[in-house]
């Protein structure tokens, strides 16, 4: 009997990822459009363009990535399907990257319009703590050996985190309103001229595409990691 000469080519080669490439190109085009072909806001100056990266990343991180993480966490505890855990952990990690961008670009914008890198307003603070929690989520996953236990623990944390964020938001909001701060120049949001609107919505679309692409790659990595763990288990 001759051993089959099948090479596991599907495993060995990292596949091209058209979605990822399209997403990268889309984000790059949006960046070019935002920086070179979108009018400068008269009051805030060029720094207002940070909005296109900052706001769309923030929206996707908060309302898509973390909501997805919370929902898949609940579903995992209910259905105990490993796929749900993979989606939850992927959404958390990709969401963390988006949140990191939000937290890094925010101060640059804030410095120009508020005159301060950081202010402890409700939104900033809850984003910061969300970032901390998701870092903790990652550390927790890294610290648990058993796969089922890891999935259950992180699902529990994911659900509790979703419950916590509104509390932080509310309490920081009250903290601010009860302690009036020196008046800052607030970024008013008068209706944007259409050219800016187009840039804003295309940025949102591009980042959404990027999120989907990254989530897919990260999900693949999670699947591969489990497969490797299975193989190592078999050989042990």
């Amino acid at each position: 009997m001759t051993p089959p000469v099948v090479v596991f080519s599907d495993v060995e080669r990292t596949p091209r990822d058209p979605l990822l490439i399209v997403a990268i190109i889309a984000v790059a085009l949006v960046f070019i459009r935002a920086l070179a072909f979108t009018p400068i806001e008269a009051l805030q100056g060029p720094a207002q363009k940070i909005l296109y990266v900052h706001a769309s990343s923030a929206f996707i991180a908060l309302y898509i990535a973390f909501v997805l993480m919370a929902i898949t966490s609940i579903l995992y505890l209910w259905l105990k399907d490993e796929k749900l855990d993979r989606v939850a952990s992927s959404a958390a990690e990709v969401g963390l990257v988006f949140t990191t961008v939000v937290l890094l670009t925010g101060p640059l914008w804030g410095k120009t319009i508020w005159g301060a890198w950081w202010t402890w307003d409700a939104r900033l603070t809850s984003t910061l703590f969300l970032w901390f929690i998701i870092v903790g989520y990652g550390l927790l996953r890294g610290a648990v050996e058993d796969r089922g236990r890891r999935a259950r623990y992180s699902a529990v944390l994911g659900i509790l985190a979703a419950l916590l964020v509104p509390f932080i938001h509310l309490s920081v909001y009250m903290f601010r309103t009860l302690h009036p701060m020196p008046i800052l120049l607030k970024p008013s949001s008068p209706s944007m001229p259409p050219e800016m609107q187009i840039t804003f919505f295309s940025a949102f679309g591009a980042f959404l595409l990027l999120f989907a692409a990254l989530l897919r790659v990260r999900y693949r990595v999670a699947t591969l990691r489990d497969r490797l763990a299975d193989l190592e288990q078999e050989r042990a």
Binding site: T14, A34, A47, I50, L108, L228, E234
Partner: protein, 55 residues
């Protein structure tokens, strides 16, 4: 009077690009390493299972 703060915008776009690209690279590297390791292990497993006993 439009303020001259173009540097901040450039910096923000630059930082965002670095973070996103860095993450993409890290994902791809992780994926490649995992695939290599899996291929290596499963080829070893196949080699072992096709070695006749006593050979």
């Amino acid at each position: 009077m439009t303020p001259d703060n173009g540097g901040y915008a450039t910096a923000a776009y630059f930082i965002a690009s670095v973070v996103y690209l860095g993450y993409i690279v890290s994902l791809r590297v992780r994926e490649r390493n995992l695939r290599r390791r899996i291929a290596q292990l499963s080829s070893q497993a196949r080699a072992e299972s096709h070695t006749p006993a006593g050979a």
